[in-house]
Amino acid sequence: MNAEPQAIDGDMAPPFSSEPTLEVIGVSITYGTVARGLKAVRDVSFRIAPGEAYGLIGESGSGKSSLAYAVLRHVPAGRVTGRIMLRGQDVMEMTPQMLAATRGRVVSMVYQDPMSALNPAIKVGEQIAEVIRRHRKADRATAWARAVTLLGQVQLPYPDEMAQRYPHQLSGGQQQRVVIAMGLACDPDLLVMDEPTTGLDVTTEAVILDLVNDLRRDLGIAVLFISHNMGVVAQVCDRVGVLYAGQLVEEGSTAQVLRAPRHPYTIGLMNALPTIDRAQARLADIPGRLPDLREVPAACIFMPRCTSARDSCGRAIPTLETVGPGHRTRCFEHDRIARTVAPTPDTLATAAEPDSRPLLQIIGVERSFGRPSRPKLPFLRQRRMVRAVNDVSLDIPQGRTLAVVGESGSGKSTLARCVAGLLQPDAGDILLDNAVIRPMVQDRARPVQRAIQFIFQNPDAALNPHWTVEDIVARPLKLHGIAHWSADLRARVRGLLDAVKLGERYLDRYPHQLSGGEKQRVSIARAFAAEPRLVICDEPTSALDISVQAAILNQLRDLQERLGTSYLFISHDLGVVRHIAHHVAIMRHGRIVEAGTPEEVFDAPQHPYTQALIAAIPTLERKPRRETTRTTA
């Protein structure tokens, strides 16, 4: 299928032709009124040559999705100024008919969540054929044949059979391939991909990224690739732009921007990224938070969070200045700025210290879902039993972190919930201090309840929206009788908020007034309020931005060092695990396939699954095609 199987050279300069596929000129997007509107995107310009892949990197609130939608002129709530030229035609000035013709034929979009981008009630082949019929005036048979061809093109096995399936019969990776096939249906010149791999497992992600690269080479399609993950962008894009608070702060070739960034924000992002290559004692987080985009100062927008800021930075908005061939950065001090190498990693003290006796032991825990047997009656579907956790035994030592790593469906969250007593295990025991504890949390003794606390994945759902921060953090103190008098209570709550770097002014706030990172800090404060001995962290940073993730991980490490708390850390992100774990267990299909220290597991993985997992991580260097990870579910 592929004419040239070699990898695309990451440093290859893209061939510029006279007319770019997409040219964004001075685009600003404002939501709300002119005076107090949210200036989500301000004066962004970039161009994408035919066949080029351009990456837009940004954290939440950077305006990257707004820009993506603006390319399709789909910003119903906002006002767009500036020009967006698609093959020389201004999108903003198109008639509705022209726009309808352009969408799909010239530009099409691949969304983040394939499950919601596909109609669950229509066969996937039909959904693709519909696009073709709509734009090409093709008859049913032709459109269907083309749909099947497209499914083959996105490397789905047995495309004619796949076309007959409904979305729920496909895996997440397969669904995303269907969405990509839909985007390709009318041979567009530009594919806009908004975080296309964010919801996918790392091995599936690798396959999708390979697919995008293949399609670009075979079809010569240009790609606007939007992502928060620099590793993913590095795998696909020729050039990247870094967005911060609605402004393009740096632009250049992928190699320039990711290997030799010249803007303090990009540098900060790179330093905040936990990698599996080395264990860092501390990640460098970016302090502060996104500025209020309703009132944009006439200054460098990054200045309040910048470590190299000078007084002069506050006087004018810096322009994009060229610092290398095609490499531009929006920083006054770019001559001074170069990526300082992260501090030499302290070697973790894990190996040196002898293992103390385990705090918590998990012995032969099993948990299945689904009903075991049903009478065989018509219309009664036999539901297969799924063994989510299958005979898992693990020890969590005192004051150490055990990380359980696995992809979605590996049973790692089920295991965490069994330990927390939120789910009843079918078999097995959980021992705290060598004594068996009751399986369900409500049956456990108060001291046991107090000893084990939980930090949840989704900071939005983990806090009761009708409680203030003070109520939330004070509740465990009251429940466990740690503090009774209101003065004492308040002092303790303040102390806890202090420990997670939230000030007194947060006491009266409600969760909706907090950012994602602040909510997660409140969650941490609540967990530590009970003075626990074990904290179960279920993907505590997967919903957060990289710079915030770094701060939260540092926080967890600091608290552990100070209080000697043990962690059971559940994650899918090997970089995060490398950073925080003293012991690692790799979980797949409910079983532990490999366990050991991070050095053992990451530097010399024994199990083929671990090896595949590590190979699939998108790194900042572009990887050659990964034939080994090609798996078809």
């Binding site: 919930r417 927390a420 007593g421 939120l422 949390v441 409500q442 456990r444 108060r446 309840q449 107090r450 084990i452 606390q453 939980f454 949840f456 994945q457 989704n458 759902a461 983990a462 806090l463 009761n464 929206p465 009708h466 409680w467 203030t468 003070e470 109520d471 004070a474 509740r475 465990p476 429940l479 409600y510 969760p511 909706h512 969650s523 609540r526 009970a530």
Partner: protein, 283 residues
């Protein structure tokens, strides 16, 4: 610690709508409390000389066949009409909320059992069920309240349960469980504030339909009995004279309409002031 009820939006500036709502509530309370005293004439006094008189300066809403002043009767009728409606709505929503909370949170066999009972109750047409109860227990106002409350119970329970089913899967409930909170605490402190605004809206709608239901009962001749000046009763008695005296059914009907719409508007405003921006997805 004030966590049971928190109204952050109340801190915003008061608008015309808020003043109107408060005004409406004050008038209603005054009419319920002092209706008989406020009424310009005795609502029960016969005056054969002025029977079936059209609305005039002396009798703004006209008079009925016995010469009773309709205006005074409507004012005095606020109390028997609204007290029954408010009490019935309160009973129904209270029962429904507790049942819905418990069934939705506990789930499983409890949910199954409770909701099948609710389904059974709901399978009776509301009016028939209420009639059955009032006929069996006798036409005292307390029994009318009980009957209407019984009709509302399963409907409120379904509503609350559906919201709780969604809330119970959220992580803050898991968090409460994992720190060892009792079920009672989770139901009353974690879940209840989150369904409060649904309850408020439900209550305001139930008040309206309780007025109508008690009017229907009165219309059928069960429930409140003459000479009580209940609005529903007045519509019933007045409709036989509709060709002679249109004002007899029209003004009590208007009173019902005004109170119904007003209650719903107040409920809606209250809901918005309780609603937590971004916090409540269930609406």
């Amino acid at each position: 610690m004030s966590m049971a009820l928190s109204l952050p939006a109340l801190r915003r500036r008061f608008g015309v709508g808020d003043v109107a709502c408060i005004g409406f509530l004050v008038v209603m309370v005054a009419l319920i409390a002092f209706g008989t005293q406020i009424a310009p004439r005795d609502p029960l006094a016969f005056d054969p000389l002025h029977s079936l008189e059209a609305p005039s300066a002396a009798f703004p809403f006209g008079t009925d066949e016995f010469g009773r002043d309709l205006f005074s009767r409507i004012i005095a009728g606020t109390q028997p009409t609204l007290l029954v409606a408010l009490a019935a709505a309160a009973v129904g929503v209270f029962l429904g909320t507790s049942t819905g909370l418990v069934a939705g949170y506990l789930g499983g066999a409890v949910d199954e059992t409770v909701m099948r009972v609710m389904d059974t109750l709901m399978s009776f047409p509301g009016l028939i069920l209420a009639m059955l109860v009032v006929v069996m227990l006798g036409p005292e106002p307390v029994n009318v309240v009980a009957a209407i409350g019984l009709v509302f119970w399963p409907r409120s329970a379904r509503l609350v349960r559906s919201v709780v089913l969604d809330l119970a899967t959220r992580e803050f409930i898991d968090s409460a469980r994992s720190r060892g909170e009792s079920r009672l605490f989770i139901l009353t402190r974690e879940l209840l504030p989150n369904v409060l605004m649904i309850i408020v809206v439900d209550f305001s709608l139930r008040v309206t339909s309780a007025i109508l239901l008690s009017a229907s009962l009165a219309y059928l001749g069960i429930g409140v009995t003459p000479p009580t000046p209940a609005w529903g009763l007045m519509v019933r008695d007045g409709q036989q004279f509709i060709e002679l005296a249109w004002w007899l059914p029209v003004f009590p009907s208007l009173a019902i309409a005004v109170v119904s719409v007003g209650t719903v508007l107040v409920g809606e405003r209250l809901r918005r002031s309780i609603a937590m921006p971004g916090g409540d997805r269930a609406r």
